[in-house]
Symmetry: C2
Subunit: 206 residues, 2 copies
């Protein structure tokens, strides 16, 4: 079902569709339409239909989408019909918030390890995790086979940590450090930097 | 200089260019090229030249870009040649991390107020801020004239808080709650949801 040729920008919208559909489902709704979904998300109904049509036929004309079925299909397409282990590197404010974050439940992820290089933090409890020594990243993560990591260290350390994670076999990095990092072609990288988002919006402010 | 017709996807790349240029500048570098910038960012040199050309002539053929000048120009274009006041609503893990976040310095923003609805938190110190009562959002923010807010409340409260912020005159919302929210056409909205970014990447994982 997965077509390697689907543009990345389309792939990037699927999690938004899934989140909205899961919310509708939790609220007891059973059927929706591309119109309704579009209004919730600020995306045109035509765009949603076109995006979904790249992966199959999910609705019948006139009757809309069965939400439960579409949720299941999107979870399969996005490979979140399972639970992925995720490591957090950096137990500062942001790393701690991520280690305790409740928003991953039912969305395919659970944080299983937290690392920091600060001797005062190593061995301490963070949420339900014991903070481990960053010096052990390569060994511990390789052994555990974890493929996904969130980087929440200072900008100056981000590239070094990314290199260690990649050496450990991690293939998906979510970088919270406010800096660019370089990764090999087979590693997926996304950034979360609030200043980037805010600057995008101040462009439009007077 | 600002052209209203520039596509939003181009605008969204400018903060990435600015961040990389500021890093180069801090490291003492004076000149760069679209090739070098492209390698750092994983964006083609042609795309960078095309994006920048929408706003003017910033480099001479063969000599590259003067970093300090390009930083100044991008700051003007993005309206971050000033410092914007930003409010944080929600003093949980994420809101607290945002209130103390060091990554806004030199990037055009400072957090000036933090709100929460929990009586146990109101009046307490969070970083350099006293947590204020969310019931006062409309009055306090209207009086202060703040235009930018970050929402870090539970998903169930996000729409209500967004409505209050909009009533208070806020025009740019950065939403950390893991839910869609609806805003009027003249309000800018961006989302930060780590599960969305992770699901985008698990699409490509086996």
């Amino acid at each position: 079902m997965i077509d390697i040729s689907v543009p990345d920008i389309v792939v990037g919208r699927l999690p938004l569709y899934l989140r909205s559909l899961q919310k509708m489902s939790q609220e007891g709704q059973q059927v929706t339409s591309s119109q309704e979904l579009g209004e919730v998300l600020g995306i045109s109904a035509a765009q949603i239909r076109k995006d979904l049509s790249q992966f199959g036929e999910f609705g019948k004309q006139g009757t809309g989408y069965n939400i439960e079925y579409l949720v299941e299909q999107l979870q399969k397409i996005l490979n979140v019909d399972r639970v992925w282990d995720v490591v957090v590197v950096g137990a500062g404010d942001i790393g701690s918030a991520l280690a305790r974050y409740q928003g991953f439940a039912n969305r395919g992820f659970r944080v299983t390890m937290v690392f920091d290089s600060d001797p005062n933090k190593i061995g301490k409890q963070e949420g339900s995790h014991i903070i481990q020594d960053s010096a052990l990243i390569v060994d511990v993560i390789k052994k555990a086979g974890v493929k996904i990591a969130m980087i929440a260290v200072p900008a100056s350390q981000a590239q070094k940590v990314a290199n260690q994670l990649i050496e450990a076999g991690v293939k998906s990095l979510l970088n919270y450090a406010p800096t660019s990092i370089s990764v090999p072609k087979d590693t997926h990288l996304q950034h979360i930097d609030p200043a980037i988002h805010l600057q995008h919006m101040t462009y439009y402010l007077d």
